[in-house]
Symmetry: C2
Subunit: 230 residues, 2 copies
């Protein structure tokens, strides 16, 4: 790979041989399907099966699951970031905020894998994390504006959004296909709590560092980052 520059999403670098590139795309497409259906717990092997490629091909192209996750969810994360942008464009910040939360949660409900992605952090997935951070910054801005209108409670913290996603993931994972809209009710309840007038104080938000640690959890989604990487 040329030591120069390389876009996050441009394959660039060493152009793969045509058949390799074709397989790469088959894998990503298969992973999109499998992750959406089974969550990030899906095994690499099952993705390979779905893609119709050998296991080795899988690992050759994506030595760690984090890299596969990066490739698969970058577009979802982009859509997520776009939702923030759209919310910022709303003349009514509170309305934008509410719409954003609903949209983001709907994305979780529509894709089990993405639900995991939103509550987990993958230091190894560069493009993904970059996109997430961008979205996060927009969110902070959005929250600030919504507070300024006086409709979003003052003690709302950006980290609350993460908590909302965790709670939503819990509902979505538990209800699954059996009650596919149950999450809407919970999210609506949460949103109503976010609106002023505040009914009472809240327990403190978790420390940012603690929450980050929580999002690194190797547990459920089981996507251990490689040793450390660059």
């Amino acid at each position: 790979m040329t030591p120069g520059d390389q876009h996050p999403d441009a394959p660039a670098a060493q152009p793969l041989r045509s058949d390799a590139e074709r397989n790469r795309e088959r894998i990503v497409a298969a992973a999109r399907t499998v992750f959406a259906r089974d969550g990030l717990n899906a095994s690499m092997a099952s993705v390979a099966r779905e893609a119709g490629v050998g296991i080795a091909t899988m690992f050759r192209r994506f030595p760690s699951k984090a890299e596969l996750v990066d490739a698969v969810f970058i577009d979802r994360m982009t859509a997520y970031a776009d939702a923030v942008t759209a919310a910022l464009d709303d003349p009514d910040p509170w309305h934008g905020f509410v719409g954003y939360v609903e949209t983001a949660c709907a994305m979780q409900a529509a894709d089990y894998g993405f639900a995991d992605v939103l509550t987990t952090t993958f230091p190894a997935a560069k493009a993904l994390e970059h996109c997430r951070n961008e979205a996060y910054e927009g969110m902070v801005e959005l929250i600030g504006r919504a507070k300024a209108t006086g409709r979003l409670r003052e003690d709302f913290d950006p980290s609350d959004l993460v908590l909302v996603h965790m709670a939503n993931a819990g509902v979505v994972n538990a209800t699954g296909g059996a009650a596919p809209d149950a999450w809407r009710r919970v999210v609506a309840l949460l949103i109503q709590s976010f609106e002023t007038p505040t009914r009472g104080p809240l327990p403190a938000s978790p420390e940012h560092e603690a929450l980050y640690q929580a999002m690194l959890r190797p547990g459920p989604p089981g996507v251990a980052a490689p040793e450390s990487g660059d």
Copy 2:
């Protein structure tokens, strides 16, 4: 014990040989520890290891995980039911309701296994389900009274409690030991939404049947019931 009657929790029936009974208790104790730490996903094998008994002994005593879950969590579930009773004794139903929700969620946070139990149903675990149903009935009563005071929103449905537990499980599972109190904030937000005056309508509750199906999910906790049994 006379072969006639048998309490749900009395070993009764065919009194086990003393060493067998000892092992049974070791297994239950080990399972309590392991499930609390790892959730219901913990393998039977890991419980056997922790208990220091052979795998065969494990399966002889508890042919299915549901039976083990039944034995292990019956006391937690009893405590859960007691919390409802305590709440019903509160002269202020709304206060009782709030305290109950907080207590129940705290129990989830303190025991990953129980967190799973509260969002999953195990038809094979008789005593457990019996206890759960009892608690549920008390809850319906409690909710009715709380509504009567005018402080609990009219459109609150008993099934919302299940949703609360699912959401809470999501937060607890995601934050784990890293941010052990994060769930409190989410639960506080939900409770504030439950209090009147209502801020707006909510999406409909999931169908009871659908929610039951959701709680049967073979997925996460991975405790498939035996074929059918008695």
